[in-house]
Symmetry: C2
Subunit: 341 residues, 2 copies
DNA sequence: AGCGCTGTCGTCAGCGATAACGACAGCGCT
DNA sequence: AGCGCTGTCGTTATCGCTGACGACAGCGCT
């Protein structure tokens, strides 16, 4: 079927080992034979079988990313970073998507990855509900090194995430600085750790400013624009005097913007709106949206970089290393939707 | 390092082959030993090494997707479909992203995939410029079966794509049916096959309706909202009497909508706007956007399904099979941005 | 009793590659 | 001439697993 080392060896009139030396650029051979072997390789179109090499080397040179929500902006960007760095470091990358973020065939997926002997795993599934329940040290001991993304830091786990709370604080403080006083909050689903963090940031910023976080100004949504629209409607009914809204995602903000327009309110004159994520579209919402930018590609790159370090350390010293958590600071992006009235 | 078949065999007091039989559910063994072996497997937490199995079976059970633009809505959705079907069919999936759609380390990527002995490849890189130039039969003979997405059908290649031209025709005809007569076009980059198809659809629909496709009403953009905004400005300067615009992507449409608002025009009363892609946001643009929906997840699923068929056929009869091209019909989604004035 | 058959299980070789070691020619040296 | 050394290359074993085949006990049968 495929051309093998032996085939090349036979053609070049040398032993298999010699061909192996040429392929792997190990010295110890004369220029003459190297060229002869190389010619045979080219002639036959020989490509080494990495599976066989992995078997004897005890290294698969593969990583895996387990993700959810790839068809949303955030997760897919993160995966781009993961793939990029993996490639740069010489790993091939397996992609595994979960059907739902909150349950799923975790066992099946992990078993498969172990069987494929991946050297490390990036866990890019958002922390929602108890979907981190499977993590315990006994389990982790049987698994390759794992780096967890978008998750609460905890001892014994290597994590990379963005400081959602900090981002939320910055937006809210910005709204306050623009003279807003009745600032509503449309939250993401509270089962999500990231959503809770953003909500907490809103609350913290208000308290720091001596403003009272009014519970009637808080409405839940599910990240989507539809739910954002519904929430905004509720918000406007409950508190017609509201003068700003922090939506916990750009999509939610988009829905909220639509309802604000329909209600005859001007944005930002009557009500300011801010989002979170900085999707490419947000700069072209009507009006352009103030939001929070996350360096998601960096998150992916750093995650793989850390994973690589752990793998290398493990191979050399055989002792288990877990890096500390890495936390990136998001950046406030100010646009028209929050301009001073 | 890892627990091996031998370890289990030793513990259970049987031969390695017997353990292998248990793992693979091959008959020929008594219930007693099966249970004893299974107990040993559980106790040691044994997981078979798929690399070794692949080596002897001559099957890697892996597929690969080569893609670009995963952080955009369309490509990422397609990948979701690809992953889903791959998983269902028992394949593991390698993810390879190209840095740019139009050049790139194609050789490096393909070499790597061959070395990993993937059984098939999904080529999910859009056709732009001459980036399909590497395809020739001599080359393909040395490669595993490939299914090409979003590409012009051509003999000898298995392709799965959406009929972009048809979609564009439908939008344009819809705009005409709404009473519009001066219908502008903001195209995607003409190096892209899909962009050319959409442009051609606009032209064809106008001609069919007996309207003259006016070249001054055609402006180019690069898919992004920024470029859409620029193009819309140009369009309004050139033809202030324009009464509709077909933007070749939702992002372009978004930019166009913003400029329309800024120019004091009402959408859809003064100018109708339509897009292409049906991104989740488009239903919440201001106003909600008329657009074209593509079944991208289906595209991914079908692609893998076809690939699987080819692989199976090849394994059984050893003769090379290439399926015909599959073309999906997109669907027009009518929303407020194109309502009758 | 002796036959063959079936059910169970083990032995052996080999998938494609590499590490460790060994073999051998040619060299310079005393 | 005889020594060891270096450079170059081959031999062997092994990674973890499975297919082909063989071995053997226990069974029913004539």
């Amino acid at each position: 079927m495929h051309v093998t080392l032996q085939d090349v060896a036979k053609l070049a009139g040398v032993s298999a080992k010699t061909v192996s030396r040429v392929v792997n650029n190990q010295g110890e051979l004369s220029e003459a034979t190297r060229q002869r072997v190389q010619a045979a390789i080219d002639q036959l179109g020989y490509r080494p079988n990495i599976l066989a090499r992995s078997l004897v080397n005890q290294r698969s040179n593969t990583l895996a990313v387990v993700a959810w929500g790839i068809d949303y902006y955030g997760p897919s960007r993160t995966v781009v970073g993961i793939e990029k760095r993996s490639d740069e470091l010489g790993y091939s990358l397996f992609l595994n998507l979960m059907a739902h973020p909150d349950n799923g065939d975790i066992d099946r997926i992990l078993d498969n990855l172990v069987e494929r002997r991946v050297e490390g795993i990036i866990w890019a599934v958002p922390e929602v509900g108890a979907n981190r329940g499977w993590i315990d040290s006994a389990r982790l001991d049987r698994l390759p090194p794992i780096v967890f993304l978008s998750t609460q830091a905890q001892p014994g786990l290597t994590t990379v995430s963005v400081n959602n709370r900090h981002g939320a604080i910055e937006v809210t403080q910005h709204l306050i600085a623009q003279g807003r006083r009745r600032i509503g909050l449309i939250t993401g689903p509270q089962a999500w750790w990231e959503a809770r963090e953003r909500s907490a940031g809103w609350q913290e910023a208000l308290q720091r400013a001596g403003l009272n976080p009014d519970p009637t100004l808080v409405v839940g949504a599910d990240w989507s624009a539809v739910s954002g629209a519904l929430a905004m409607r509720t918000l406007l009914e409950r508190a017609p005097d509201i003068d700003a809204v922090f939506a916990c995602s750009d999509q939610i903000a988009l829905g909220a913007l639509g309802v604000a327009h329909q209600s005859g309110r001007r944005v930002p004159q009557d009500v300011a709106v801010a989002g979170f994520d900085d999707t490419p579209e947000s700069a072209f919402f009507w009006p352009p949206l103030t939001t929070v930018h996350q360096q998601l590609i960096d998150v992916g790159c750093i995650a793989v970089q850390n994973l690589h370090q752990i793998i290398e350390a493990k191979r050399k010293s055989d002792l288990e290393v877990t890096l500390e958590s890495t936390i990136l600071m998001p950046e406030l992006v100010i646009r028209e939707s929050s301009a001073r009235h």
